[in-house]
Symmetry: C2
Amino acid sequence: MEQLFAGIDEGELSSLLGCLEAVRKRYKKGGMVFAAGDAPAVGMILNGALQVLAEDPMGNRTIIGRLGTGDLFGEAFACAGAEHMPFSVEAVLDSEVLLIDVKKILVTCPAACPFHSRLIENLMAILARKNILLSAKIRHISRRTTREKLLSYLSERSREAGAREFDIPFNRQELADYLCVDRSAMSAELSRLRAEGLIEYAKNRFTLLRRARARPGAARKANLQSGKERIP
Amino acid sequence: MEQLFAGIDEGELSSLLGCLEAVRKRYKKGGMVFAAGDAPAVGMILNGALQVLAEDPMGNRTIIGRLGTGDLFGEAFACAGAEHMPFSVEAVLDSEVLLIDVKKILVTCPAACPFHSRLIENLMAILARKNILLSAKIRHISRRTTREKLLSYLSERSREAGAREFDIPFNRQELADYLCVDRSAMSAELSRLRAEGLIEYAKNRFTLLRRARARPGAARKANLQSGKERIP
DNA sequence: GAATGTCTGTTGGAAATCCAACGGGAGGGG
DNA sequence: CCCCTCCCGTTGGATTTCCAACAGACATTC
């Protein structure tokens, strides 16, 4: 996410990085960028690839995700004011990373350089956008059936496009991964939706045709939108 | 989320609100706080209850969620710099709402009042924390089976607690809703996990006992952690 | 043109989920 | 104590999903 420095041009950037006391570090393949428990910092991958790992007290280790060039990481924990990173981050390739102390971002410098407030805006926008994307994904995959997940997703894309006909940025396998369903089952469900005259599609272009009604013969109880949904 | 004004005391608050040009508004039950397409703003519910609605070009209307006293809304779109709100927000009870223009928050006032930077920090922390919670939920519900969802969630709680024994903030129905599974099926799976000696539990207190291994007789293909996961 | 690889849709059996219903236990009033 | 409610676990049948395998369409390469 190079959006972090959006609106700041090359020349200004270097002085800004100095003001932020940003550090450029190299890691060998296998090297640890963060260990779980370290103080959080914002990292940006200049090149290479990293892996995020979690380990619970039982020793179960999980790969949380992979990150590539341009990706930002650690920003959520840094900005949330967390004391410790709950995850480890290690290099899966020789990599170069830019590390920034969030405090340096949040506390505007005494000189009140003009880029600093821009930087804060950018960081805030990154967090907010990610928020929106994550919320949307949760809305879709919270649905119980493949059909509902598809309709939820397609309906949202249609709304975003402001039209009944729209493109999606996924191929079938990617869409299935995004919606957390099986690709072949999803393909079959798409066929059914088309057969029922609800949607039309070719390649990545979809069209919503009618209002979605309960599926003929489906009586799964609606996931009641509990108003009391707490997130621990 | 009253955390928005955390660290700012009563007396300072009123002057701050003036500086922000915050507006206090009342809505009758059924009144629209935002209509889809409006310019985004940050809202905070002082009392009452609101409902977030989405409508796609086909006229399908969906209830996205409910909000209660103290909840913040619209902050993601406002901070992301969106031009228009994609959702509508309407009062389901007579309600009172505090509305703030984000620009007033982001652009520090010429007088550079000391609370302003605190406010920015708070807003950033709110977004970041929500980010963390949403990401965690996605990690859990992305798993394909009830068993995996449970283990993912319990493992994370254990990690957070830093111990093998820990409490969860849900009863069974709430946990099932959170993990997007059927309560009875989840109860059955918990019993199996206990029978297999993997976990122990009573009420809301759980203990992880052994490393999780593949279930005897389960051979579902692992959801390959695609490094190419794009979010549209 | 043939060979190859990728993407998509289809199909069938195995496995898991969902749903409804029931029963027991804990807790609160009356 | 009895009644009631809420929460939790269990069970069985209907439904859905998952998984593997295959076939057709299309593009690329040799």
